[in-house]
């Protein structure tokens, strides 16, 4: 519930006759989730015709009852199993954090987004297609109020050609991929060369070299 809800709650719930909890949820029927759950815990719903017949209240109570049962079971767990649980939870949270921020796709009329990690993976691969270049890092950030996005990339590059040419090639490849593969409105690609890429090894013996050194 609250974990998934990025939207602000209505400041004045229609049926709040007491002070609601911060982040309390107003159900589609207008009741506060906290009050419905309190009623359930106090075994009062049978006296309230609304709670008995309302599908939203029933569904909310069923969902919370599941969480409640899981919580009670966990309180009875032994420490090693709790550590395993903590590991599972942390792995899930880390995976969620790794998604990065959600960036707008280039459609101002629809609410379409892509996770930064998903977009960065595609753009890094585009950079890697340029011979003598390897993407080291790639971050993306929205720019302005619309759907514009700015890319910041760090690069390892070989020094067998002038760096500005190679960086220009990488930028072109990234811009092309952003439009063609993703549909992102990238306004700029800032590239910093942070490492030197070792030259590729010469072809092995027995293979034609195409002309000698």
């Amino acid at each position: 519930m609250a974990l998934d809800d990025p939207h602000p709650r209505p400041p004045d719930p229609p049926e709040a006759d007491g002070r609601p909890f911060e982040g309390d949820e107003v159900l589609p029927c207008g009741r506060l989730l906290s009050r419905v759950w309190e009623q359930e815990c106090d075994a009062l719903p049978a006296t309230d015709p609304h709670t008995v017949s309302c599908p939203y209240c029933r569904e909310a109570v069923e969902g919370l009852a599941t969480v409640n049962a899981a919580t009670r079971a966990l309180r009875a767990e032994h420490a090693p199993r709790l550590h395993a649980l903590a590991d599972r939870v942390m792995n899930i949270v880390r995976a969620e954090v790794r998604l990065g921020r959600l960036l707008p796709l280039a459609d101002p009329d629809r609410d379409l987004r892509i996770a930064e990690s998903a977009a960065a993976k595609v753009l890094r691969r585009a950079a890697d297609t340029v011979p003598g270049a390897r993407a080291a890092g790639c971050r993306l950030a929205p720019e302005g109020e619309g759907t514009d996005v700015r890319v910041t990339m760090t690069l390892a590059a070989a020094l067998d050609r002038p760096l500005p040419d190679r960086v220009h090639q990488v930028r072109r490849s990234v811009l092309h991929s952003a439009g063609q593969d993703l549909g992102l409105a990238v306004t700029a690609v800032d590239i910093t060369v942070v490492d030197v890429l070792e030259p590729e090894p010469p072809p092995g013996p027995g293979l034609p070299t195409g002309g000698g050194a």
Binding site: D5, P28, S117, L182, G183
Partner: protein
């Protein structure tokens, strides 16, 4: 007018999203994955993998009507923007059609988030 169950909307939206070419799967929401991790039995594999876990359906926070959020994993090979547009439009149409069948038509807003683009063998 029949009451609209958010749980029903989840199923309808999931089915519509999964029917879009280029959608490899739906990405379960954080709360659903945490709930599955804390499940006392840990045998609830079907629940953890259910497509509905990638959908959120609720009343729109700042206007009348329903708000549907879809988190999807795409297969490589199509432009993410085109697939996301398609998901947006099909999910919106499917939910509206369901509301109309219940004589409960209300505005529907849809938000689509692409969380991953699966490559080669790691298609979800």
């Amino acid at each position: 007018m029949t009451a609209v169950r958010p749980a029903t909307l989840l199923g309808i939206a999931a089915e519509a999203a999964l029917a879009v070419p280029g959608v490899a799967g739906l990405h379960p929401r954080l709360s659903r994955r945490l709930a599955a991790a804390a499940s006392p039995t840990r045998t609830d594999v079907a629940h953890r993998a259910s497509p509905e876990a990638g959908i959120r359906a609720g009343r729109a926070p700042d206007r009348p009507g329903w708000h549907i959020e879809v988190r999807c994993v795409l297969a490589e090979g199509r432009r993410a923007l085109d697939v996301a547009r398609n998901v947006h439009d099909r999910v919106g149409a499917a939910v509206l059609s369901h509301l109309a069948a219940l004589d409960a038509v209300e505005p529907v807003t849809v938000e689509v988030a692409v969380t991953r683009i699966a490559t080669g063998q790691d298609v979800a």
